[in-house]
Symmetry: D2
Subunit: 478 residues, 4 copies
C-alpha cells in the first residue's frame, strides 16, 4: 500500500528553555508521526551532557515509558521522526545525530533531502572523514567539523552554503538551539511559543498538542538561533524566491495544520471544489479513499451537491504484515486496511476521490473492491495533477518510469485502473485552490516539479550518476 504514495518527509521538533524539554518533544513528535513512522530520536541537553535516545519504531512505543524520559533530562531538546529509505533501516541512521566537535557537543536532525550529498560525502571521505551513517545529515556535520571558520554559527553557515536541497533542520550546541529552513522554503518549519519557551516544529499540529501558540512560519532561507536571550534571526543564504512544496498541501501535511497562512484542510476541500467544477459527472455518491481523500471528497460533494458517504471503511489497527495464506486472498494488502461499505455503493454511480496517483497499484485494487461491492459506475477524481516526474527533494521517491502518469495518458490510466472515467485537477485549478489566480509560469509560487518537471534546485548527484550509489559497505541489522 505505502509504496503507492509519495513518502512523508520526516518531521523535526525543537524546544529551548523548558524543564520538561524531552517530554514535550516526545509529544511534538507524536503529533508529527504521520511524517515518518520508521524511527524516532530525541537529544536533550542538561547543561553538561547531551542525553540521547533513538530507536526504530513509533514515537508512542519508543518514548512512552517514564524510564526513557527520565534518562533525557535537560532544558533544551531536539527530536526527529524518520521515514526510512531503502537500506537505511539501521539504528545508526536514526536522527538526531551527535558529534563531539572541537567546539563541544553538537547534535543535528533534518528532514528533506540534499541533492549534492553524495558528491560532498565523496570529497569528505577522500580527506579522511569517517561516516557513521548513510544519512545526508551527517554530511552537514562533517562539513561543520572540518570547517576552518571560528564560531559554531560561522562553521554551520559555511556548511549550509555548500549543501543543495530541500530541508528543514534543527541543531543544538551547549549554548543554543538552531533551526534552519532551506533557501527556497521547500520544506515547512514553524515557530511557536509556550509561555517563555520557544518551540520550532515541522507543522503547527505539533504546537497544538503541547498547548503552544503559533508565532509565525520560519522564512525561506532563515536561520533562527534560540538561546537564553530569546530568538535571533539570521540570513545565511543569498535571497531567493520562495518555492514551498505544493505536495505538502495535497498529501504530506496533517489536515489540521496551517502552512504559510493556509489551512491544509481548506486547501484540500477547495481542490475538491475545483475538481467538481472542472470534471463534473452525473453520479449518486461521492466516496473518498480514506483518510487522505476525505477533505477533497467533502469539497467535491459540497460543490456538486452529490451526497458524501463513507463508502470505504478504514481499519486503523496495524496489519501490514500478515502472513498470506498459501491459497492466496485476492488483494489482501488492501483488505487489511480498507473494506467497502456495500450498503452505500451497491447499484450506485460512484465518484471515488483520492489525493493522488503514484504507481497506481493501490488504485487498481480499490476500484476492484468498489466494483465487487456493486457500484454501477466508478468515476475517479484525483485531487492532484498527474505525477509525471520524480521528486529529488523528498525521501525514497519512485523513479520516473515507475510513475503511472509518466507512461500513460489519462485515458490509458483510466483503462489501466478500470474506472468508467478518470480526471485530475488541473495545475491552474490546483493553484486556484491555493488562493492564487493560477500558476505564474515565470515565477511559480510553489515547487511543483513532480507535476511539471520544473526543478528549482540543482540535481548535482543525479547529474553525476556515475558515482556509486552505495554509501556504506557495512551491513548490520541493529
Amino acid at each position: 500500500m505505502d509504496d503507492d504514495k509519495f513518502h512523508e518527509e520526516c518531521g523535526v521538533f525543537g524546544i529551548y528553555g523548558h524543564p520538561d524539554a524531552a517530554a514535550h518533544t516526545a509529544l511534538g513528535l507524536h503529533a508529527l508521526q504521520h511524517r515518518g513512522q520508521e524511527a524516532a530520536g530525541i537529544v536533550a541537553f542538561d547543561g553538561k551532557h547531551f542525553n540521547a535516545h533513538r530507536d526504530l519504531g513509533q514515537v508512542g512505543d519508543i518514548f512512552s515509558s517514564s524510564a526513557v524520559i527520565a534518562r533525557l533530562p535537560g532544558h533544551a531538546a531536539i527530536g526527529h521522526n524518520r521515514y526510512a529509505t531503502t537500506g537505511e533501516t539501521a539504528l545508526r541512521n536514526v536522527q538526531p545525530l551527535f558529534a563531539d566537535l572541537s567546539n563541544g557537543g553538537f547534535t543535528l536532525a533534518h528532514n528533506g533531502n540534499l541533492t549534492n550529498a553524495r558528491a560532498l560525502r565523496h570529497g569528505l571521505v577522500q580527506k579522511g572523514a569517517i561516516f557513521q551513517s548513510t544519512t545526508d545529515t551527517e554530511v552537514i556535520i562533517h562539513l561543520i567539523a572540518t570547517s576552518e571558520a571560528g564560531s559554531l554559527i560561522d562553521r554551520m553557515t559555511s556548511a549550509l552554503r555548500q549543501i543543495e536541497g530541500a530541508y528543514s533542520l534543527v541543531a543544538m550546541t551547549d549554548s543554543c538551539l538552531i533551526a534552519v529552513r532551506d533557501p527556497l522554503g521547500v520544506r515547512p518549519l514553524v515557530l511557536g511559543r509556550l509561555g517563555d519557551t520557544n518551540v520550532v516544529a515541522s507543522e503547527t499540529c505539533a504546537l497544538d498538542i503541547i498547548g503552544a501558540e503559533f508565532v509565525r512560519d520560519v522564512e525561506a532561507g532563515e536561520m533562527l538561533v534560540l538561546d537564553e536571550s530569546g530568538v535571533h534571526s539570521l540570513r545565511p543564504f543569498p535571497p531567493a524566491p520562495r518555492r514551498p512544496c505544493i505536495f505538502e498541501y495535497i498529501y504530506f501535511a496533517r489536515p489540521d495544520s496551517m502552512m504559510e497562512g493556509t489551512s491544509i484542510y481548506e486547501a484540500r476541500k477547495r481542490i475538491g471544489m475545483e475538481l467538481s467544477d472542472e470534471s463534473a459527472v452525473a453520479a449518486d455518491v461521492v466516496i473518498p479513499v480514506p483518510d487522505s481523500g476525505v477533505p477533497a471528497a467533502i469539497g467535491y460533494s459540497v460543490r456538486s451537491g452529490i451526497p458524501f458517504e463513507l463508502g470505504i471503511i478504514r481499519n486503523h489497527y496495524v496489519g501490514r504484515t500478515f502472513i498470506e495464506p498459501a491459497q492466496q486472498i485476492r488483494n489482501l494488502g488492501v483488505r487489511l486496511k480498507h473494506n467497502a461499505n456495500r450498503n452505500s455503493i451497491e447499484g450506485k454511480r460512484v465518484i471515488l476521490v483520492d489525493d493522488s496517483i503514484v504507481r497506481g497499484t493501490t488504485s487498481v485494487k480499490i476500484v476492484e473492491m468498489v466494483r465487487a461491492a456493486g457500484a454501477a459506475e466508478i468515476h475517479m477524481r484525483i485531487a492532484a495533477p498527474p505525477t509525471m516526474h520524480s521528486c529529488f527533494y523528498g525521501i525514497d521517491t519512485p523513479q520516473r518510469e515507475e510513475l503511472l502518469a509518466s507512461s500513460l495518458d489519462v485515458a490509458g490510466m483510466a483503462k489501466h485502473i478500470g474506472v468508467d472515467s478518470l480526471a485530475f485537477v488541473s495545475l491552474d485549478g490546483l493553484y486556484r485552490a491555493m488562493g492564487e489566480t493560477g500558476r505564474d509560469a515565470k515565477a511559480p509560487q510553489y515547487c511543483d516539479a513532480c507535476f511539471t518537471g520544473d526543478y528549482p534546485i540543482r540535481l548535482t548527484d543525479f547529474e553525476q550518476s556515475d558515482r556509486p550509489a552505495q554509501l556504506s559497505l557495512l551491513a548490520e541489522r541493529a
Copy 2:
C-alpha cells in the same frame, strides 16, 4: 479516554475445513480488532494436537510472524479478541481456553458476560474444580467437564442450560467446531462461507477480509455444529423472544458490518437524521467527534442541510501512555488523539455530534477544545438516549452512579459539559432509525437496558452480591 465509552464486547471467529485455518483466523481477528485490543488467541486443530498461541497485545503484533502461524497447523481453528476487565490482564485469561476432557481435547472462546458465573464457580470449587483463570469461559468448561451426560454435545447442552447471560461462543473438539448464540441473541454471530469452508464470526467485516460470503445471522438460541458433513443446526434452549443489543448499532460494531439485515453505517446515519428532526438548531457546521460520531453527523448534515466538516482531526497513531510533563498540559489525554481544526470552527456555530455519553469526562474536554478553537456556539447532539443504567451483559461497564445521566437531567448535563445546548435522540427515534415504528413497550425488539433499566436476563450474581468478588488469590504478572 477509553474509560468514557461502553467497552467493546470481545470478538470470536471460527473456521472449519480449510488448510490455512489459522492464517484466516488471524485475518478475521484483525477485522474484529475493534471488539477487543488487550489480548488475542488462536487454537487450531490438526487432527491430532490442539495448537495454541495466545498473548497480550493486538492481533497484528501477535499473529503477523510466519513462525507463529507455522506453529498453528490445522484444518480448523477458533480465535478470540479480548477486551480485558480490571484485574484480568494476566496471560492465563487469554482465550480460547483449552481442556483435556475425558472425551478428548476441547477448546472454547466466548464474548459477552455471564450473569451467574460467580454463583456457578462457587459451586464448582466446592466440588473440587480447580480454575486456571478468572474468566466466565472457564465456568462453562468445568460444567462440561463435570457433566454426567454422555456425548460432548450433550454435556455442552447441559452446561449451556445452566448459564445465564449474553454471549456468543465458539468451541472445537477433535471432530467438530461448535458455535452458539445466547437464547435472546443479545450478542451478534454470523455464518459465512468461503468455497466449501464454513466460517463463523462476530461480525460480517470478518467475512469480508477473507473474501467469504455472508450466509446468514446465527439465530438467537441456535447452536451450529460445523463438521466434515457441513453445518448442522441445533436448538439447545427453549424458545424465547429475540432481544439483540441495540448498542451494537450505536457504537460497538464496525460501520461496514451488517447485523440482522441492517447496515450499521446506515443505522447510524438514520439516527443522525432523527436527531436533526427531533432537535434542530440554527448553526453553521456539523462536526463529528471522530471516528464513532461520523456517520450520525453525516446523517444530521444531510437532513438539516448544515454543512458537514471534519472540525476535529483524529491522530490514529498509538499514544495513550505518554509521560505527562511535571508542568501538566491541559487535557493532554484528549490532545493525544484529537486536535481541533481551527479553520472550520473559528467564529462558527457548531453542532457537535457524538455517539453516546457515558461518564461525560471526555465530552467536557472535547467541548473545551472546540471552544478554545473559537466556536461561537456549541450544540451537542448525541446519537443515543441517555445511558442511565449499567450493562450487566457487557464487559467492565461503569456502575450506575458513574453514569452522568444517572444523576443529572439533560439541562444539568449541558451545564456540566459546557455546551449551549444538548440533545439526545429519543428512544422511539432510535427505534425508528432501526426501521421500527417505535419501541414496543410490551415486547421490546432490542435489549435497551442501559437506556431503560429493562433487563431481559436475570442478574443472579448482582442480586447475590454478598459473595466475595475476588475470584482468585493468585497475583502474577505474566
Copy 3:
C-alpha cells in the same frame, strides 16, 4: 553432553516468617541451581494474595531484578528449580503450581517423580478434573481439591497416601508452610533455621548461602508444618525402612552439601580411594573429567600416590547451542565445554576419573580428546558401579536399552570407549565409601536400583504401560 548424565532431580526451597521471604528463596534456588536449570518459580504469601513469578531460564536471570522481587511481597515463600522432561518445556509446567481451593489459596512444588501419576490422572480426568499442566505435581493438587476430608492437612494426608514415588515437596496455604519427604526418604530434604525463621531446602548449600544454620534432615515419611507457632512434625505414612538415593552422593548433590550426616565431597573422595584400592594401575597422572569427577580423582590420587593434575580444563561460559559450521568440527559438543591441557597429558600414562557412565557418548569423545593430546595410555576409572537399570524415581531417565552397561560388559565398554583399561567401583566398595561395611542385601541401606534393579517403590505406570503416554493434546510454546 547433558544427555549423557542422569538428570538432576529438581530443587525445592521454603521459608516461613521472614519479611524478605522471596529474596531469600531466590538465593536458596540459586544455590540449588545444579538440580534444575530449565525453569524456576517462587510463590510468596503476603497475608492476602499468593504472589507468583515463574519463568523459563536460570534463577539469576529470572529473579535478579528488583522489580520482580518487589512483586513478590510476603513473609512466607516456596520456590522450585525445574529440570524439564521432554515436551514439558511450556510455561504452564513451571512450579510452584497454584490453586484456589474451597479452603483458600494453595501452592505446591515438588521434586522427584511419581510412579502412579498417570493412573491417578486418568481417574481424575474421568471425574471431571481439568489439568493445566502435565506435571505430577498437579495430580497431588487435584487429589487434595477433590478430597472429602475436612481440613487442608487432612485432605493433603489423604492425597499423599494415594501417591507412589520418590519426592520432596513444599506447599503453602494462607496459614502455614508444609514440607514432606517421601516414605522411604529417597529424595533429600533438610530443615534449617535463620534466627526465628524456619527454612526447608533440598540441600544444605541452600542454607549456607542465606546464612541459615542446619538443624536436621527431614526424616523419611515426615511431614513438617511451619507456622507462627513453630515447626510441627506429623507422620502421614506408615513406617518404612529408609532408602535414600545413593546417586545423590555420586553426582546429583553439590559437593559442599551434607546429607544424613555425610559430606558429599568426602563420600566422593572415599569412592576414589576405594577405586584405587580395587583397581590400581601403573600411571603418571590422575586426571578428572571436570567438574563432577574432581573429588573422586583427588581421592584416587591420595590413595595411589599418583599426582593429580587438571588435565582437562572446563569452560564454564554457556555455549551449548552454537551453530555447527557446515564443514563440521569434530566433537564440537565436547570442545565447547572441555579442552585438554596438552602439557599435563602428552606422553603420559593417564588415569581418567569420571563419576558415572550412562550412555557413554561423552566418554568416547573425552577419551578421543585426551588421546589426541598425546596420552600414552588411558585408564578410565568410574566412581560408580555400572548403571544397568533405568531410574523410575527420577526425571527423564534414559530407558534401559540406552544404558551402555545394559548391553556391554566391562571389557566391551572399554573397547567401545577406546581406553586401555576400564574399571568401576564395586557395589560394596561404594557402600564402604558411604561408611557401611557393605551392602546389606536383605535390607539395603540406600536405593541403588540403577545399579541393582532392586526397585523399592512400586512401578504402577510402568507396569500398566497400555495407557497412552501423552498427557495433554495442547501444543503451545509459551
Copy 4:
C-alpha cells in the same frame, strides 16, 4: 567480587579463507570469553559487504542463533570480546569498529590499551575528526583515515608508529586480514592453521576449539598480512626488546593455553612450588580460592606434601546481581559464587592459595568464610608478588592508592585480611617459575610494572593529566 581482580584484557580472533568464517570466529570468541564478558562482535567480509553483528552480553547469547550467523556470510572474519571500562557500556563501543575509508571498507578490533590515545584523539578532533565511540581503537582508525600515505598498509603503518601502548589488533580490508602485535609484545597473539586456512587469536585455546593447529606466536612488533597467497610478515616498527605481560601467566590467560612456549598451567603450578619453597608453614590442607588459585595450590601441595582439598566450592551459575534483602546477608557477594566445604576445613590448619591480591576486599570475605567454617589457622599464600603499581597498559585498572599493597606492608596486609600468616611469591621466584634464573634487572624479560613500577612504554596521557578525562558528551543507553 570482580572489582578485586585486574581485568581481563579483551580477546581478538581472525580467520581468512574459510567458507564458515563467522561460525568459527564465534567459537574462537567463546574459547576467549574469559578475556571479556561485557560485549562481543564479529565482522565478516563476503567479497562485497562487511557483515557485522555486535552486541552487549556473552558470546553464547549473542552468536548462538542460526539467524545471526546466517547474516554474517563471508570467507574472512574478525571478532572481539570486550571487557568494558567504566562508562563504556554503550553499544557504540562494541568492537570490531568499521569505517568506509577512501580505500574501501575497513574494520578493526584491538585488545589492550593505548597510553597516548587521549592526546591523539584531541589532535584529531581539532582537525575535524568525528568520533563515534570512546575506544582507543577508533583513534587508530582516524589516524589511518587521515593518513596521507597511499596504500592501506602504508597508512596503517603510519598510524601504528604514532600510537603508544600494549595491544594486539586484528583488522580486515576487502583484500586481506591484518594482525599486529605491539612492539614489545606485551599482549599475546598466536598464529594457527586449519587446513589451508590461517587463523590468529589471543590465545591457543581458541585454536583448539576449532581444531586448528598452533603454528607460532606472532612476534613482538610483527605485522602479519593474511590473504589469498598466504601469510606475509612485515615489521612496521623499529626493533625493541620483548616484554610480554607476566600477569597473563598469573591470571589473565586460560590454564590450557600456551604462550611463548610456556604452558600457563605449568607456570602457575611452578609458582605454587616456589611459594612452598619460599614460605613453608606447618598445615593440614592446601585449599585454593577457585578457580584461578587451583594450579598454584596443586603445585604448593605437590612440593610441600600437604594434601590438596577443594575446601571452597564455586557455584558457576550466574548470580552477580541478586537483590540484597533489606536485612542484609553478610558477605552475600562472596556467597553467591563461593561456599566453604566445612568438612575439609573444620579444625584444620589451612593454607589458602590465591592468584593475587588487588584491593583485598574479596580476600577479607573469603578468609572470614573459611574462619567461620572452623579453620584452626589460616595461612594465605599468593601466587604473585604484591601488586603495588597501577597497570596503564590494561583495562580499567585500579589507581595506585586503591591497591592494598601500595599502602600496607605484608604484615599490615595480613592483619587487614585477618590471616595467621601471609606470603607472596618473590619477584625472582616468579621469574624462576617462568623458566628464568631470575629477573634480569638491566633487561627484564617481562613487563612486571604492576610489581616493580618499571613501565617499559611511555605514559603520555598519564603525564599530561590536565586534559579532560571525558571523551564524549553523549549519554545514551543503547
